[in-house]
Amino acid sequence: MIEAPADAAKSFFDAGEFEQSREAALRGLADQPDDANLLRLVGRASAELTLPDATTYLERAVEIDPQSADAWRDLGDALLYENRLRDATNAFRQAVELRPDDVASLVQLAHAAYAAGDPEEAISHIRQAVGRDPNSHGARRALLAIYRAAGRDDDALAAAEELVESDPTDALAVLEVAELYLLLDHPVDASAAFARLRKIDDDPEHEIYAYHGMIEAEIRRQRWRRALDLTIEATRIDRLGRTTDLLAYVVAQVFGTSDRPAPSREEIDRELASSRAEHRRLHEESLVF
């Protein structure tokens, strides 16, 4: 039995064979040039293959079948590939209008809106996405990211805590909670969160960052003896010497002097912020590649 072109195209697409998928769908289009599903399959495969005609096929698909939320979403995705943010936002808006519970489109719409320079619209859509699917970890992470980017740290903290509640082993979310507590001047909670982070982040190369966070919280609390104990512990595991300045600073606070010149508080704050940023970078990059 000969497989229908759309079936073949879909099978190839699912298998990641985008060239074959595109060819099969194009064969189908030769007989059915107005088949919106085939047009979508060609467009999506073309987008994966970074061919410039992807949006042409997808625009044709929504023209033929303007009631298809999937077609609008595919068009939005292809426009994002091309970084056409305004057009992508419009396409996702159409998709969401047709299917308001489409969480994926809402998340895409939010990011496209944010990237296009409209953070409030972005937040509104992403909250809608989380409301539609409270179990979507991806949507919750996106909400947190957009809150943070928009400088809404209180809301970001609430979003981060919900993320941790849904997955207590999510090291990046715990790091967000810890960092946000620091930023919001709740060093006791920050200290507890960094301590939790130290336990759940299995990579030994990351342990030092959790220590630095705990030390930073104790410095904020001016609990110098505790800060000293933690700094000594951190120095023992820190083979790259990232704690030496910190040790000198804390020693100077405890004993009034240090065997090496102590850096200023501003320098220490900069180093600790840089340590947090590096830790975050390691986790964020590992989510992508």
């Binding site: 995705d77 980017a149 299995d202 992508v288």
Partner: protein, 463 residues
């Protein structure tokens, strides 16, 4: 209008964006992946996992992983805040690999090679006994099959949890690649972000060619250690790939989008290295004169002026006229990248050659950038390094001479100008490959002689 088959569904979890750590832009994952993991907004090169890296560089499906039998060991039953065995188990679960390095056979554009790659996600890419074994076995496989070796390093250094055993991997891996050098096999080392400590101080910097990507951090001691030891703020860009290139320690820094093609080109250069039967282009133009009586008589000062004329073609221009596929190689591997001497691999007809020469410029700023074609010791040492490379692989050498002489400077004397010149002249005369010299402009004093002593010396008219 629509056929009945629905398009493949995609779960919400697939929808992902990443904030670029460099420019803070939200980047659509698919767009980022399409851009090979380089931020489309600011060109920041994200760190890649091993599979993504191999997929970008190697022919699809060509990698034959041979590292399955390599297991990490825990010789000290080490524990810090957690037992090492637990950390290993967690790293194995996280990466899906038994150890922090994979090796095997592969092809790049059909050119066979052996590849070993370190996984930074596996305990920071640290080198313990298992990783050292993977690198050593890769070198041995390259030796056995007489293939080039490509190593891809990303590592914080030796794996401290294995104590002295990990430290000895520096010796083991260095010796493994030494055998490749002795056997005349090509070893390309790609150092990516980050490569430090016992890895950068062993096999990873012992390649015939050292390559990296923009913005990669490479060094021995970490910047914090240095900063806190010397109590000085380090300059921006310290220990980046660009910094190393400027300081003569890398051959080339290529954007990620060019890496595969550059590797392909280098492998192709070496595929027929040492074969010199035929393949030279047809000679055209005037026949060289070797009878002094046939030379025209010009005013000496007029000829000197012509030889030094700022519009006279320079080495890079001659290379583009005469050779194909030039791949410039930089650095003396010691101190600096001297722009007054350029060199690299190229094709002369179908023959792979090493071509190098003094480089001047046509404008004042170009001249200053090239130090008016007056090399420092680093330039001569780069030239010598490239000629040694050619000798190792049996490549003919072409040198183009156009220099007023060696640079007369304090630093040049401090760093051994005389020794650099003397050593170059001595070794150049003894390399077991054909070397042809063309004086294209002027060749002043001992500094000019450095690239000009060999089998055949030609001079351009009015040079």
């Amino acid at each position: 209008m629509s056929s009945e088959v629905a398009a493949p569904p995609r779960p919400a979890q697939d929808v992902q964006w990443t904030k670029c750590p460099s420019c803070d832009a939200f980047v659509y994952h698919k767009r980022l992946k399409r851009n090979l993991g380089v931020c489309p907004e600011c060109n920041y090169h994200f760190r890649l996992g091993v599979r993504e890296r191999l997929a970008q560089l190697l022919d699809e499906g060509s990698f034959e992983d041979l590292s399955a039998s390599i297991e990490p060991v825990d010789p000290l039953s080490f524990a810090d805040s957690k037992p090492y065995s637990e950390r290993l188990a967690a790293a194995q679960k996280k990466t899906g690999n038994r150890e922090g390095a994979l090796y095997g056979a592969a092809t790049i554009d059909g050119n066979p090679l052996v590849v070993v790659i370190m996984d930074f996600a596996f305990i920071g890419g640290s080198m313990g006994s298992g990783v050292g074994e993977a690198i050593t076995r890769a070198a041995e496989l390259a030796l056995e099959r007489r293939l080039p070796l490509l190593s891809i390093s990303a590592s914080g250094g030796a794996r401290m949890q294995e104590g002295c055993v990990s430290l000895m991997q520096l010796a083991k891996t260095s010796q493994a690649v030494a055998r490749l050098h002795e056997e005349g096999l090509l070893f390309i080392s790609l150092l990516v972000d980050p490569t430090y400590g016992g890895v950068s101080a062993s096999f990873a910097t012992l390649g015939d060619l050292l390559m990296s990507e923009p913005g990669s951090y490479i060094g021995f001691a970490g910047p914090k250690v240095i900063e806190q030891t010397i109590r000085q703020k380090l300059p921006d860009g310290f220990q980046t790939a660009e910094f190393l290139l400027d300081h003569g320690q890398l051959d080339l820094v290529e954007p990620r989008e060019n890496l595969r093609n550059t590797l392909r080109k280098i492998l192709a250069f070496h595929a027929d290295a040492g074969q010199r039967d035929g393949g030279l282009p047809e000679a055209s133009g005037a026949t060289p004169i070797n009878d002094p009586a046939q030379l025209g008589e010009g005013e000496p000062w007029e000829i000197v002026q012509l030889a030094r004329h700022i519009e006279r073609p320079n080495t890079l221009e001659y290379i583009s006229y005469v050779f194909d596929d030039f791949q410039e190689l930089a650095g003396d591997r010691l101190f600096d990248q001297d722009a007054a001497i350029v060199g690299g691999l190229a094709k002369l007809g179908e023959v792979t050659v090493m071509v190098l020469g003094h480089q001047k410029g046509h404008t004042t700023s170009e001249m200053m950038e090239r130090n008016f074609g007056m090399p420092n010791p680093e330039g001569y040492r780069k030239g010598l390094r490239l000629m040694r490379y050619a000798a190792k692989f049996g490549l003919p050498v072409v040198t183009l001479v156009d220099t007023p002489g060696a640079y007369p400077g304090i630093g040049a004397e401090e760093r051994g100008q005389s020794i650099a010149i003397g050593t170059s002249i001595m070794e150049m005369l003894r390399f077991p490959v054909p070397i042809v010299t063309v004086v294209t402009g002027e060749g002043g004093s001992g500094g000019g002689l450095v690239l000009a002593v060999r089998d055949g010396v030609l001079m351009m008219e009015n040079s």
